[in-house]
Amino acid sequence: MNIVSTILLICGLLFFTGGAVGIIRMPDFYSRLHPAGKLDTMGILMTMTAVALYNLHDFSIGTVLSSLKIILIVAFLFITSPTATHAIVDAGVRAGLGPWTKEETKEENDLAT
């Protein structure tokens, strides 16, 4: 059980890393949201599952319930996280932020050369 949860945990951390690196590396606001919105959610899912599993190692009603609570967090995040992402995107659209596309950079490059 410990091993499983450790693996899950490491996977989760990996996803988190991806999210963090993603929001640094991505070129524009919209594309940054992809790692931020998805990878973090996945990371939470993984780590929480890991913790929930680890928590079950001494099995009793109390630990089951706390594991369930952890799952509740995940469930909750699965509703709120995309909604929040959507809200941010929506804000960006309404604020008039144009999405970055390849054509633009190409044109810029053409102009530069």
Partner: protein, 191 residues
């Protein structure tokens, strides 16, 4: 003094002529079902949260659930139709593993993109527009959030008439929409 003007142009754009069914507002009827449903769902959640089964805490739980149900019973399940509720839940639970799988795939894909040294060449963000045939709020929610969670796509805009604008990180991601996901979501809520 009444000054009529249409203000929000994109509102107008996204307003289809054909969709006559939504012109009628369903009359709100006082029903006790949302109350009871909320109460039971809330009580189940309470049990999970509380973890104490003595009489005192259960009483507190019942009181709390009553408060929640009476105060916001009409929020969660405002347009629930009576028939087939348990069945819908079952379908929803069926839907979850598929969704998780999709989410996982999506994440792998995004991870790949993020860590790829030539990321800038791989990605090709674009906005895709399509129309969905879903017409219930809840199904829109599930569908939109699923889109956001799955491969390289984020829901940018949904109108009440089912027009979707989706930001996709590369071309491949956007192709599958609405596709299978819409069908599955529609199936859950019986549309």
């Amino acid at each position: 003094m009444v000054d009529r003007e249409k203000q929000y142009s994109h509102q107008k754009q996204s307003q289809p002529e054909s969709n006559q069914s939504s012109l009628k507002i369903p009359p709100t009827k006082k029903s006790r079902t949302p109350f009871l449903l909320t109460f039971f769902v809330a009580f189940a959640t309470w049990i999970v949260l509380s973890g104490k089964f003595d009489l005192f805490h259960l009483t507190l739980g019942i009181i709390s659930c009553l408060i929640v149900a009476s105060f916001s019973g009409d929020l969660m399940l405002s347009d629930t139709r009576k028939k087939g509720l348990p069945y819908q839940w079952l379908l929803f639970i069926q839907y979850l593993p598929w969704l998780l799988y999709q989410v996982f795939l999506a994440n792998i894909h995004v991870m790949y993109l993020v860590f790829h040294p030539k990321m800038m060449e791989l990605i090709d963000p674009r906005i895709i527009r399509f129309k969905s045939r879903l017409n219930r709020e809840m199904s829109h929610l599930i569908f939109a959030n699923s889109i956001t969670l799955t491969p390289g796509t984020i829901t940018v805009f949904v109108s009440i008439y089912g027009d979707y604008a989706v930001h996709a990180i590369d071309e491949k991601c956007g192709q599958s929409l609405p596709g299978e996901m819409e069908k599955r979501v529609a199936k859950i809520l019986g549309e």
